[in-house]
């Protein structure tokens, strides 16, 4: 920068507008340069963490799962995705689920990801669904900003998570108070976290409504194709 102008001019005279714009322009330019550099150098690590936590969650919600395939919904058809977890380079992101298999290569179920507004912010969660028995077999919260000590029990409360070990989705999910669940399609909400509990059930219903027809259709197909 031209330090000579600022020192040679008397201090009370205003610098020209051009100089003001130039200063901000240069500051913005270098700031942008630095940010692009840092972004590019941290991106691989960040994506690795994200993929890793998703991977762990898939194994968590599909008990016994040792391997999974990414399935994409392309033109109404559920097909194995051609892309990696990093996302497709073409930019188009198709709705996807994860099909889990156990060590013997047998199909366990689908892991489905979803989002729903909770008490504070969107709750991101993933759950396992077995289309043959029409039953939810696992559930985990991926992202939540629910109240610590109350709403965040949806992440770790054992009684609550036990709801989703074998939850029948027919004739539809039902929310009941804690300790009153008798039927296999009932979810016992958490006392003190009713709104968060209901948000989770809404999330499950929304995703199920979207995916059930496709997944059950897929499940009815001859089994040869489903296996590796």
């Amino acid at each position: 920068m031209d330090t000579s102008t600022s020192t040679s001019l008397p201090p009370q005279s205003d610098p020209s507008s051009f100089r003001l714009i130039l200063t901000l322009g240069i500051a913005g330019f270098f700031s942008g340069l630095l940010l692009v550099g840092v972004y590019l150098s941290t991106l691989p690590a960040i994506q690795k963490h994200r993929a890793e936590s998703l991977r762990k969650a898939i194994f968590q919600v599909l008990p016994g799962c040792t391997e999974y395939k990414i399935m994409e919904l392309r033109e109404g058809q559920l097909l194995e995705a051609q892309i990696t977890e990093q996302g497709s380079s073409e930019g188009e992101v198709l709705p996807r689920v994860y099909a889990g298999y156990n060590a013997a290569g047998e199909f366990i179920g689908f892991a489905i990801q979803g989002e729903e507004p909770g008490f504070q912010d969107n709750i991101g969660a993933i759950f396992g669904y077995e289309p043959g028995e029409k039953v939810i077999i696992g559930f985990e919260v991926l992202e939540s900003k629910e109240t610590p000590g109350l709403g965040d029990k949806i992440m770790k409360d054992e009684n609550w998570l036990a709801n989703f070990k074998a939850l029948k989705v027919e004739p539809g999910l039902e929310v009941v108070k804690e300790g009153q669940g008798q039927k296999p399609n009932q979810v016992e909400s958490i006392t003190g976290a009713t709104i968060s509990s209901k948000a989770i059930v809404r999330l499950l219903e929304k995703e199920l409504a979207e995916w059930r027809p496709v997944l059950e259709e897929y499940n009815r197909r001859p089994k040869v194709e489903g296996r590796k």
């Binding site: 200063t23 500051a27 941290t42 960040i46």
Partner: protein, 208 residues
């Protein structure tokens, strides 16, 4: 506290020390209350926020002070904000890459370091008027003071609210955590009591 002290090294030390105790940004100046109350629910979060703020403050002060003769005063605040926002974004990326767990816990509060009035305040009040050496001493002192204050609050809240310190359980099974301490009201309670305590300490020192 800006009268000329002849010995330059003594002045540098003085500028460093004032941020830690006499002009502590939290306990004396009560600046930057948003992170102070919001992310101090555990000791680790407090420490991470303290270090992130330190990174931003030190680098911003360094840059602002070395460019202080170049930046026209009409656009100085805008330029400071550009500089601060850049370093905050850098911290955001770095934390996400290095410690995803802490990054997840701190969430939006990392981005909110941009509007921490402690940082902009130090640029306007100190770094833009003093040499690089003094600005560095001031930034280090202030951020150590800030991190110290956050840690004080975080330690108290985690011990009482969760029965642990740095995730290590302190009490046996019989301890019932005071949930309120990790909720927002706990932040206000703790800050209030600590302000009381530090002011009492200072008054006592004056009397002695």
């Amino acid at each position: 506290m800006n009268q000329q002290i002849p010995d330059s090294n003594a002045r540098t030390a003085e500028e460093f020390l004032k941020g830690i105790w006499r002009e502590n940004p939290v306990f004396v100046a009560v600046l930057g209350m948003c992170p102070v109350l919001a992310v101090t629910n555990t000791a680790i979060n407090s420490l991470a926020m303290g270090l992130a703020t330190m990174f931003v403050l030190v680098f911003s002060s360094l840059l602002v002070s070395s460019l202080r003769k170049v930046i026209p005063k009409q656009v100085r605040i805008t330029t400071f904000i550009i500089i601060i926002a850049t370093f905050v974004t850098v911290v955001d990326f770095l934390l996400a890459a290095l410690t995803p767990q802490v990054h997840k816990e701190l969430g939006a509060f990392i981005a909110l370091i941009v509007v921490n009035c402690l940082i902009l305040g130090r640029q306007e009040a100190f770094a833009s008027k003093n040499s690089v050496k003094l600005a560095l001493a001031d930034a280090l002192g202030m951020s150590v003071g800030f991190a110290f204050a956050l840690l004080c609050i975080g330690v108290v809240r985690e011990i009482l609210g969760n029965g642990s310190l740095f995730n290590i359980a302190l009490f046996g099974e019989g301890f019932e955590p005071w949930i309120v301490m990790i909720l927002p009201p706990g932040g206000f309670f703790t800050l209030g009591f600590l302000l009381l305590f530090f002011n009492w300490l200072q008054q006592r020192r004056k009397l002695v």
